[in-house]
Amino acid sequence: MFVKYMDQIKAEDALKEKTRQYVEAVSGAPEAAGAAPAAVWHRKSKPLVLHRFREMVTAAVVLAAVFIGGLAYYRMPVSYISLDINPSLELGINAFDRVVAVEAVNGDGLQLLERQQLVNASLEEAVQALVQEAVRQGYIQQNGASVVSLTAVSKKAATAAALQERLREAAHQGLMETDAKAVVYTDGSDPQLRARAHELGLSAGKYKLILLLQELDSELDIEDYRNANIAALILKADSLLPTSGIGNGQTDELQQAFRMVAAAALEIQANEQRMLQNRNAEQNQAEGSGEPLQNREQVRNQADNSAAAEQGQKELGSQPRNQIQASQQKSGQNQPDHEPSKTIRR
């Protein structure tokens, strides 16, 4: 039956005629009678070869476009990290959280970047390497009163917030590995602020702090703080915080900024105080071991001093800084037990 059906299918005359014309047109036939088929083959094969060549070229172009597009996408920073201690520098981060651009914003930043190979490193690796290098080059003070400021710049606030958490972790990790102590201050920003900061030759992080200072003191000149370190900016802002307290007639954003500054200042002072206590305890110990003991009372006093100092250190040391900062931010009016003599105005 199948054969019977298929028998009915025949090439239409029109189709045959069209095909004959097509073959003749493409091949250049009709040929002179007796033309060698071999010659026909060589000459007529050209359109096919051309066809293949065109396909190959198209494929190559598409591949090249995909490769170049992919490379451009990889190399395009989608967010930026501004790192300020006083060396100020900026890292461009791509969609895969890899460093694709590194730029020093001031001379110290340039110094910090020397001998550093950060391109293609992950965000965390780069921050850790930079913090460690800052410790080695002495930009982070021994008394723990330095501030490492990390500002995530992204179009999306949620991305910036997520980056901040990772930056904080990475900075603490870097500090821990070098056994150094510093306050880690993280903030978020948008690309517009970064652009304005660049126009002024500043990093986004430092510019945001200077803007905060100007908010507190409108007569303040940016130039006075261009070369200041972040710790000085934070302490200055803290000293200018409104005596009437945070929350009266201020925007939520400003209130948040004030609280962050107050918490960071508190931590700086706590670190300073703790270092001072440690130094005193060491001095007392040195004096105690160098001289004959006078009486039992003196021994007890020295022991108490050392124990108190150690206890204080443990309490502070055992609590991660970000927790301190977080708890301070949450606590609002409450003052922590280890708050130094200075009163924080809220």
């Binding site: 025949k10 189709l15 003749e24 088929p37």
Partner: protein, 159 residues
């Protein structure tokens, strides 16, 4: 007949001689008159360009079947056709409904099985000949034919 064909007369003769075979294979695969025309013309252009290497009639016929099958499959696989051109109504020259069902069942078979049914039952090629054309093992052709027949039986039975 087995002498090399000469230019335009030869291609005309070839179209007359093999046109129906090529058209039937196109019918098995293509649902679109424009595609049929494209494949038909392409096949004969290739045939013309390969005249010197096709010495015997049997060789020419086998070569034409192979090339037409391949071109049809390429057209069916083509992303553009699969996604852009809608399938036109198939004109099946059937005398009654049962015949139409059988033909539909054949057309719905997978490409390799459809090809086998055509070559074996219509062109009357033996299994060793088909194996040679396809460059495959005879046993695999046998088992494919068995599978195709089973599938056809099921389809026609269901209908």
């Amino acid at each position: 007949m087995d002498q090399p064909l000469a230019a335009s007369d030869d291609i005309s003769a070839a179209i007359e001689q093999y046109g129906d075979i090529v058209r039937r294979i196109c019918f098995l695969y293509l649902r679109n008159q424009a595609d049929v025309e494209d494949v038909f013309q392409e096949v004969f252009l290739k045939f013309y360009l390969n005249l010197t290497s096709l010495e015997t009639e049997q060789h020419r016929k086998a070569w034409l079947c192979r090339v037409t099958f391949n071109l049809c499959k390429d057209y069916v696989k083509s992303f553009w056709r699969r996604n852009v051109i809608s399938i036109e109504h198939l004109e099946i020259p059937c005398e009654n409904e049962t015949q139409g069902e059988i033909l539909q069942a054949v057309l719905q078979l997978p490409a390799d099985e459809k090809e086998l049914i055509y070559l074996h039952y219509y062109e009357g090629l033996t299994i060793p000949e088909i194996a040679r054309i396809n460059g495959e093992n005879e046993n695999s052709i046998y088992s494919r034919l068995r599978r195709a027949k089973k599938r056809l039986k099921m389809k026609v039975g269901d209908a």
